[in-house]
Amino acid sequence: MTKRLFNHCLCCLLFLSFNAASKEYLIILKDHLFYPSQIIIPANKKVKLLIENQDSTPEEFDSFDLNREKVLYPNRKSIIYIGPLSKGHYEFFGEFSPNTARGVVIVSDEGAQHANN
């Protein structure tokens, strides 16, 4: 029964997945700071964050608001998908340097205009 249920869940997850092209945003981590520290994205759209860690130490991208957590290895790019999100501010931070590495994703209509342009 557990196996059958697991198969059903897996089918549902695969059914719900799709690879629609997502708008891409580049974030650079340098000297334990995120550049840019503020990203404006469109409401109700899935977007792709490409995060490049230019520091010599690992960092962990963490966001309670976005429910995201990913280790960023030194001198490597990492991809995180976020959204669709409703309008608002969603904070993120580097868990290993929470005092300096901080940023915010702003979801707004302005983001939609940025995305269209």
Partner: protein, 239 residues
């Protein structure tokens, strides 16, 4: 940092101990194997991360989350030692691996070893205090009301691991996030002390999406129902 990574391990260990007490040797060996696995996992992380178009780490973490859920369910039902080992080792590997990255990078690149040591000591102390309180509370509840409140908490705790798997799956675009059901960030932030404890204890999320709510409630109900339906586990431990 240490609180976030150690608390989920400590809570799971306490809940499993209240279900069926294991010897110090068994707990110690499970934690030790988990720590070794965690270290090996992080040593191979850069290799694993290249799998599945650079999504190998997320896939492996999703696998660990599902393994924890199944192992805890098996332990609740049958109280087998193997299930205890798998649950604890997987949890330690999942949560402690991030902490090992933090420790090694910090140790190599910073001279602030003292603050790291004090922070780790404080975090461990808080975890230990919380675990002792939780252990006695859950034992008191077990003797007063039986196993079912314990199984319910264990169900919520295990279902929380599936939420982590869901977040990881949407992080790599395996599934798409559905609409947010509620937003409790102004009421209780996940970043607050209570928010972090509730997150580790029952998987509290301030902004869950519909899929998360459905998976969480379905898996919790399924967990509790199975504990009711399969009576062997109950009769063995009925108090």
């Amino acid at each position: 940092m240490s609180l976030n990574q150690l608390l989920p391990v400590a809570i799971l260990l306490v809940l499993l101990q209240v279900v069926k007490k294991q010897s110090s040797l068994q707990i110690g060996s499970a934690l030790l194997i988990g720590a070794v696995m965690s270290f090996s996992y992080m040593q191979s992380a850069s290799w694993v991360s290249k799998w599945f178009e650079h999504q190998g780490l997320e896939y492996s973490q999703i696998g660990l989350c599902i393994t924890i859920f199944i192992a805890v369910l098996a332990f609740a039902l049958k109280q087998k030692l193997a299930a205890f080992y798998i649950a604890v080792i997987s949890t330690v590997a999942l949560y402690l691996s991030h902490y090992i990255i933090y420790l090694t990078s910090f140790w190599q690149n910073s001279d602030a070893g003292q603050s790291l040591f004090i922070g780790t000591l404080l975090g461990s102390g808080i975890c230990l205090s919380f675990s002792v309180l939780l252990y006695f509370l859950m034992n008191a509840i077990k003797y007063r009301f039986g196993m079912y409140p314990l199984f319910t908490l264990l169900a919520f705790n295990s279902a929380a691991k599936l939420l982590v798997a869901l977040d990881l799956a949407s992080q790599i675009d395996l599934i798409t996030n559905t609409s947010t059901v509620w937003d409790l960030r102004d009421l209780l932030s996940e970043n607050s002390e209570l928010g972090r404890v509730l997150r580790a204890l029952v998987g509290y999320e301030a902004t869950p999406d519909l899929m998360s709510v459905l998976i969480y409630s379905t898996s919790s109900v399924l967990f509790v129902l199975l504990c009711y339906v399969i009576p062997a586990s109950i009769t063995k431990e009925r108090v």
